[in-house]
């Protein structure tokens, strides 16, 4: 008999239910009223933010909370799990979604139909992926997230976007097929897909089946690496992110992080350090791939000819940096990685939104890095770009610098740390060149102002300012944030408390000291 759960514990499922119900309501009742759609969508996202804060506070007592749907006991029923890590990711998603939605409400959402329902469905998939405690449900929420992202990616239309969209959909369908094969192999060997149950059964696997299980685990890793845009599986990202609208690209910033989260969850917990013969199955591949990702992203960034391409390659480079930290699979690396993850999500989104505004303001020149007549609000936009660039490159005083320093410290335990230091610092230098070149062409190499140009739309600017303010706040809060994230990393790598919380609900709550 499972103990009765409090009303507050039911809040764990709300981050999935709220966007789902909002999306259905929007598409059924308000599909012809853009203004009302905006109000409801913004209100629902605000509510989601409040909910994420409540869940974050709930998780910060250090207990892993399992929510059993329909009260079916754990390995059989569907389980959602809330711990510090998933609560952090939920909060980040809500903050990002709020800023992006403010930008979209400035007019981008009216360029096609159903922007807001798609946006909410995407939030549902992302939140679900962060909460689920079951590998097959992870697949289902990935699909929900992807289906909505296909719609968002194509929103607004145009032949270029359709071509990039076809590639994006095809790559993800292929990845889904590989995901299912991996899931199938894991189920065939262990007979379960619940993550806690897997964490119990994987170390006990018979030696004869170990190779099969490892094949399944590595196939899953391929899928997560595709989502996280790890080299050599990153080719879909520049075309997709540069081909879609600014708010969609900014929201997609969190999708690469879902891949990183899945890597942390599955390879930190299920195939983590305590997994016997399969311990750290993916670890040998993460670090080299992450270093290659950083290098490729940086080279692409320097060679970009459009601001949106540059932003996309900056995302790839930041994923490389992030996964270098994650690839250590220890508490210090993971907490540094999580700090950098929050930072790079916000900074990347800010850069994509700035690119969107620049594109609107420059008219025919779009966001190509060529001299063009001066645009309205150039000084302000240039200042915002400067801040976003500092954040992404990782120069002081913003949070990118703090994150990179933490990662540099964390990799000292790795045997090849001089090479990693060289890669990260060299990449930062090259990225500084890339951003300086782009910024000087866009904001300085412009002709004289011939006539009075309109200023950028207010909602777009407000969204960018909010995101940059969040980055500044993240840098100011670095002390408490790293403490909290260090606890989150410790909890995420602690198999026993996770297993106890999910499989033994009657046992006294596993709380950390």
């Amino acid at each position: 008999m499972t103990p009765a759960i409090s009303a507050l514990d039911h809040a764990i499922i709300l981050p999935v239910l709220l966007p789902a119900l909002t999306a259905a309501f929007l598409v059924l009742a308000l599909r012809h009223h853009l203004r009302r759609e905006r109000i409801v969508s913004l209100a629902a996202t605000g509510l989601l933010l409040a909910l994420a804060i409540v869940l974050f506070a709930l998780a910060s007592d250090g207990t892993v909370r399992a929510y059993r749907l329909g009260d079916w006991p754990a390995p059989y029923g569907i389980t959602l799990v809330l711990d510090r890590l998933s609560a952090t990711m939920l909060l980040l998603t809500a903050v990002l979604a709020g800023c992006v939605l403010i930008y979209a409400a400035g007019g981008v959402d009216g360029r096609g139909r159903h922007f807001h329902p798609l946006f909410q469905f995407q939030l549902m998939g992302i939140n679900g992926a962060f909460l689920t405690g079951d590998v097959f449900n992870l697949f289902v929420f990935f699909e929900v997230m992807l289906i909505a992202s296909y719609g968002l990616m194509l929103h607004g239309g145009g032949p270029g976007r359709l071509k990039a969209g076809f590639q994006y959909v095809a790559i993800n369908l292929l990845a889904s097929a590989v995901f299912l094969v991996g899931v199938g192999l894991i189920y065939a060997v262990t007979g379960t897909l619940n993550m806690a149950d897997l964490a119990v059964k994987v170390p006990q696997v018979a030696p004869a089946d170990a190779a099969l299980l490892k094949t399944g685990a590595l196939l899953l890793f391929l899928v997560f690496a595709t989502k996280a845009a790890l080299v050599p599986l990153h080719w879909w990202l520049p075309a997709t992110y540069a081909g879609t609208s600014a708010p969609a690209a900014a929201l997609f910033m969190i999708m690469t992080k879902v891949g990183a989260y899945a890597i942390i969850r599955v390879y930190g917990l299920v195939f983590g350090a305590g997994a016997g013969p399969l311990a750290l199955a993916a670890a040998p591949f993460v670090m080299p791939a992450a270093l290659a990702t950083l290098v490729v992203g940086t080279i692409g960034l320097v060679g970009s000819r459009k601001l949106r391409d540059l932003s996309a390659f900056a995302v790839i480079a930041s994923m490389g940096t992030l996964l270098i930290a994650v690839g250590l699979f220890d508490v210090e690396g993971l907490s540094a990685g999580l700090y950098y993850l929050v930072h790079s999500t916000l900074a990347g989104a800010a850069l994509f939104l700035i690119a969107g505004i620049v594109q609107e303001q420059r008219g025919a020149a779009s966001d190509r890095l060529i001299p063009a007549p001066a645009m309205g609000g150039e000084t302000l936009l240039g200042g915002l770009f400067f801040l976003a660039a500092i954040a992404l490159v990782g120069l002081p005083p913003l949070s990118g610098f703090i994150g990179k320093v933490m990662i540099l410290q964390a990799v000292r335990t790795c045997a090849i740390w001089p090479w990693i230091w060289a890669a990260i610092l060299g990449a930062s230098l090259l990225m500084t060149f890339g951003f300086a070149r782009a910024g000087s062409v866009l904001f300085w190499a412009s002709g004289p102002v011939s006539e009075r140009k309109p200023l950028p739309a207010l909602p777009g600017l407000a969204a960018v300012v909010l995101l940059l303010a969040a980055i500044v706040g993240w840098a100011l809060a670095a002390g408490p944030a790293t403490q909290a994230l260090s606890l989150a990393a410790r909890q995420a790598l602690d198999r026993n408390s996770y297993i106890e919380a999910v499989l033994l609900p009657g046992a006294p709550a596993a709380s950390e000291k």
Partner: protein, 116 residues
């Protein structure tokens, strides 16, 4: 039976992969469909092959077959069906708007239709 099923899955996968790597949208879609068939069969086989055994509780049954893979296959079929419909529409729209069914981003970047 195992050999037959394994060979079937293998052939479907090989055909699917070959078609996915073609340069036009229609073969790519066919390839993805073949792959999804292969994956469905594979998922079905992961609960082990058994003949004449009930998946849910029957009082006089000696043994059961695993019902979970069947539920997973149903989910996978629904998702892949919806996805196939979506990608067909996408390919058709792309063909109608650009006049070619190439799946490559051949058009010079920053060209027509690039402004959002």
């Amino acid at each position: 039976m195992e050999l037959l099923l394994a060979a079937g899955i293998g052939i479907l996968t090989a055909v699917g992969l070959y078609l996915v790597f073609r340069a036009h949208t229609f073969p790519v879609i066919l390839g993805l469909t073949f792959l999804s068939y292969a994956v469905n069969l594979f998922l079905f086989a992961m609960g082990r092959l058994a003949i004449d055994r009930p998946p849910v509780i029957v009082p006089d049954a000696a043994a059961y077959t695993d019902p979970l893979p069947q539920a997973l296959v149903l989910t996978a079929i629904v998702i892949s069906f919806g996805m196939t419909a979506l990608i067909v529409v996408l390919a058709l729209r792309g063909f109608l708007e650009t006049g070619s069914d190439s799946s490559h981003l051949d058009a010079p970047r920053g060209g027509k239709g690039d402004a959002s």
